[in-house]
């Protein structure tokens, strides 16, 4: 399957490991990613807050390029912010012909035109779990991540493009949980999985950012997670690069490595840590990864609940 690939700025800098691991894993899953030529920044969260018109034009330029260069019109973005911005611009251009016209007037200056709705943008996780599917992924697993306790962290941007067809449950998504289980790891029920990492608050308000990051680390530590797995460069950066700051700020001592899901997929597929950019993170993942067992841990038989205990609600709906 061939996709247009929009890496976004982060994947060229702080999230190089994400790019590297995505590119290493893709061919194993039969995915071919062709980078959109001459792409530009999506504007992240800032530009849209300052000037919406300029922001949509900035984003739509990428959609126009993708439509021009990529026949089937399917674009994949590994970064949650890029994914949200690309989808959002397309959605609002479909909804408002007036906006589409203005955007296209701007694009015309660069001899470009974008017909709203021609490019379908997906997040990398979506392509992997939906287009490839967990069954096909399970077949590729050669070194299961036995014994590794993983806290799946989605962040807020991937699940909340409220205008789109709902992607998983936006309050309590489970698709990354399922992927991690497929890789053989143990998944902790991470209550803060869709909470905010603080975004660019680190540059605006230190107390707010530190508290938001602390909560996530604290919660993962409470659940005895060996590491947090993410799908967003912003989340990874805040939790990883600022972990030391949090420890100094609050007098805590967290050492929780933050890896991308593609890095864990690569490990499970038998690739070497070096091929996946593991080792470039601030909080070293080595100690956590050393815990991976060669054999599946023997599962303790679930204890019979005591006689007086009340049954838990069934999974199905009522009626």
């Amino acid at each position: 399957m061939k996709y247009g690939y929009y890496p976004g700025c982060s994947l060229e800098r702080n999230a190089k490991a994400y790019h590297q691991s995505a590119m290493a894993v893709a061919p194993l899953l039969g995915l071919e990613f062709v980078e959109v030529e001459d792409w530009n920044c999506c504007g992240a969260t800032e530009v849209i807050a300052v000037d919406q018109m300029a922001a949509y034009a900035l984003i739509a330029r990428n959609l126009a390029l993708a439509a021009e260069q990529n026949g089937n019109g399917h674009l994949v973005a590994p970064c949650s912010a890029c994914f949200l911005n690309l989808s959002k611009a397309d959605h609002y251009m479909i909804e408002s012909p007036e906006l589409a016209e203005k955007v296209n007037t701007a694009l015309a200056a660069g001899d470009l035109h974008y017909e709203p709705g021609t490019v379908k943008t997906s997040h990398l996780l979506q392509v992997i779990t939906e287009a490839v599917g967990l069954e096909a992924i399970a077949e590729k697993v050669t070194k299961p991540l036995y014994g590794l306790r993983v806290a799946p962290y989605y962040g807020c941007l991937i699940v909340r493009p409220g205008f789109e067809k709902k992607y998983d449950d936006y309050e309590y998504p489970t698709v990354l949980d399922d992927l991690m289980k497929t890789l053989g790891s143990e998944v902790v029920d991470f209550p803060l999985k869709a909470h905010c990492c603080g975004g660019h608050m680190t540059q605006i308000s230190e107390p707010v950012a530190m508290e938001l990051i602390r909560r996530l680390l604290h919660n993962a530590a409470e659940y005895e997670a060996d590491l947090i797995v993410t799908l967003c460069p912003m989340c990874q950066f805040n939790l990883d690069a600022f972990q030391d700051n949090v420890n100094k700020y609050f007098g805590t001592d967290y050492h929780i490595p933050i890896l991308y899901f593609t890095q864990l997929m690569g490990l499970a597929f038998g690739l070497s840590p070096d091929e996946l950019g593991i080792g470039t993170e601030f909080v070293s993942a080595r100690p956590a990864l050393d815990k991976i067992l060669s054999e599946a841990p023997t599962k303790e038989k679930p204890k019979r609940p005591p006689k007086e205990a009340l049954p838990m609600p069934s999974l199905g709906g009522e009626g």
């Binding site: 449950d169 309050e171 309590y172 005591p306 205990a309 009340l310 009522e318 009626g319």
Partner: protein, 676 residues
Amino acid sequence: MTEERIGVYVCHCGSNIAGVVDVEGVAEWAREALKDRGVVIARDNKFMCSTLGQELIENDIEKEGLTRVVVAACSPHLHEGTFRTACQRAGLNPYLCELVSIREHVSWVHKDKAVATQKAKAIISGGVERVALHEPLEPLHVPIHSSTLIVGGGIAGIQAALEIADSGYPVYLVEREPSIGGHMAQFDKTFPTLDCAACILTPKMATVGSHPNINLLTWSEVEQVDGYVGNFTVTIRKKARYVNTDLCTGCGICEEKCPKKVVDEVFEAGLGYRKAVYTPFPQAVPKYPVIDVDNCTYFEKGTCKACEKFCPTGAIDFEQEDEVIQVEVGNIILATGFDLFDARRISQYGYGRLANVFTSLEFERMCNAAGPTNGEIVLRDGVTKPESVAIIHCVGSRDKNYNNYCSVICCMASLKFAHLVEERTGAEVYNFYIDMRTAFKDYDEFYQRVLEEGAHFVRGRVAEVTDAARMPGEEGKLIVQAEDTLIGKQRRIPVDMVVLAAGLEPRHDSKEVAHKFGISCSANGWFIEKHPKLDPVATMTEGIFIAGVAQGPKDIPASVAQGAAASARVLGRIQQGEIALEPVRASVIEERCSGCRICNNLCPFNAISFDEEKKVSVINAALCQGCGTCVAACPSNAITGTQFSNEQVLAQLNGLLMLNVANGHGAVTEAERVPA
């Protein structure tokens, strides 16, 4: 030119019409301009519907020899009957009277007086053209069968059944579950008086069970409804109980000996267990158990039969089969109740994931002395008493993501829970609400009482319930996070237990049931009444009535009132012995019918069937409500409707178009008037 003598009567409706339409001018115009179209008299009156107004028409019919009457007033929904009856009193066939609406269609929707007046004239012109083609019609009289079918054995259905049966008429009460009692039987206490629910319900249940006029069909479902008001034939499937009720004494030994224990998702709301052979609760009516074949070891593996071995009367019958019966009834009352909103859908409240989050129905069972915990309020471990409890209101109600309506009962039920928690555990109680809705008798007094007992109230919708501790004191607790909109701050309140006051939803199969009985559901899925204020228990289908929550969320007193109201309507019908049906009906012109059957499934009242021999569609005149859908849909013009034939409708259009109403500016000059 018509030879009819037509009278036109224009109503002021106080200032409702006269405030916008020049009523006197319209009457004068009708007198002059419509003279050559058969109008011999045109009058206006402050209230045509008043006795004086009606007498005006009656006098003119008698003295002026009117043969047709056009009344220009409100919607036919309101006063068509009034004016038809007035005509009838004066000896004119009531169907020779036409009511045209110049209130709903003109004065209430227009501001420009000149245009409104002109439009009123056009509408009267249409009515005059139409009425000339009206034919005298005679109503259809059909006998009413004195038996009644009631579907649903909750409190609304029970009340309706008892009212009718006590009046001496037979009732078939059909209930899907093994026992009657409905949701009320699951409750412990009822608000605001805190009566024990079972104490007030079970005597009624017992009466139903032994009533000579009630044929109780539990563990049964209606499969098909044929016929029409007064003469329904209902097909009912009595599901196999695998228990011979002639032999069973209800001793309960089978249940005791059954080795298979399963979670009871229905009566115990998932909080407790039952056996594979069971009666849902000790006071069940009837007392006979049923075997749940999906969980019975014998049906799964072919061995066990413990129940059969121990049954002292040999009542277990594994060979029993479903029985399909047909009953004849005159009227039907649907009291099918509700399903509880599935709280799993709001994932951030953690139901199904966090052990100590409960639904309101689970909590009802927990409080019930006959429930899984014998009335002890405890955490999911079955032992620990909570020291603090949060009750979250409006779960799935008043929320555009789920149901936009208010579920009515949850505020009061939550107050009841708060009281019971306080009384039985002394725990701190936090109610998270949007608005407190404690209307109706003694309800607000109960709210005051619970406030005085010390329950806390936080106004704000809860953002999430989590076990992720963030601050000291939160460890091991469920933390309820909400914006307290009264102090304008976020609050995190750690508690041991959370109760979700889940909303009421239409039964999952309410749309199918509505279709089966030929009635309609609102967009939300509740059954639609004939009129939301003035006819709340009848439906648009003659002979089908609704009662209880199936019509919309309501509490026990309101459900009982509706059950009684529906039965009063049915009893009135039965005592008349026969019913006069509107002769406004569609019929098929057989020579033109191609047998395409397009009309068959369009009929909202199931009135059209297909005659396989003649290969034509046939309309049952008693079932037809005269809606006209089939007339419009028929591709070969083979269906015609009395009182809405093509000729009549085209004549009305023609009359409307004789006047030029809108020229875009509002002003209408005499010159623009198309001469009649």
